[in-house]
Subunit: 130 residues, 2 copies
């Protein structure tokens, strides 16, 4: 199963519809990082609305993918985590650490756009002047 | 004991009044995530003003709940941590990691509203002017 990677300007959208096998996951990750590098994507939205169950393996795949994309320098948002999925992930002691979460793709894109617009503005302390 | 979940626009308020049993905690968590998903809540304020003691189990329940809600894409603020509770939590080596804290519900709502308005902005501190 090949996961389609859609382009929206400098943002990439991927939607995971089903559990991935080891090979699928590796293929997906390499496709995605290639594509991010190719178009110098600024953001990636990973939509998992269709996943009713996320086991420990899939959680790791999603986390790893988010971290890989983050290492390339793009922002990542994971969209559409289902309530039951959130509960089981936390109960398993897992989390989706590599990224922000958003309720749906629309909100995810909003967050991405905003993060991209304010990139580098990590004001821990604000300056008095300027 | 059922914990009431109040709605205030796109924000949910929950107030934990007492220690929860295992079953209560699971029921509460599943009620809350369902409700967040249902109204696509943007923020959740968990008020624990009434808790004079938070043991290790309750700390985990609060943390897990905050993480679950975060996975769905909502902001979370924990309100009203009592001084003694703060001391014992830290002495136990526990923390409330999943969320920001606020002194009371009013401040919690303020923080939530501001976080929602600037979602995706990576500002840890807000600017004076916007």
């Amino acid at each position: 199963m090949k996961i389609p990677i859609l382009r929206l300007g400098r943002i990439l959208l991927v939607s995971i519809q089903d559990d991935l096998t080891d090979n699928d996951a590796m293929q997906f990750q390499s496709d995605l990082v290639e594509r991010v590098a190719e178009i110098e994507a600024l953001g990636v939205a990973i939509d998992i609305t269709a996943l009713d169950v996320v086991d420990s393996y899939m959680a790791r795949v999603i986390n790893d993918t988010a971290c890989m994309v983050g290492l390339l320098g793009a922002e990542v948002v994971i969209c559409g985590v289902q309530p039951f999925v959130a509960m089981t992930l936390i109960e398993m002691g897992r989390d989706l650490l590599g990224a922000n979460c958003a309720f749906n793709l629309e909100q995810g894109l909003e967050i991405l756009n905003r993060r991209i617009a304010t990139r580098g503005d990590i004001h821990i302390d604000e300056d008095e002047d300027d």
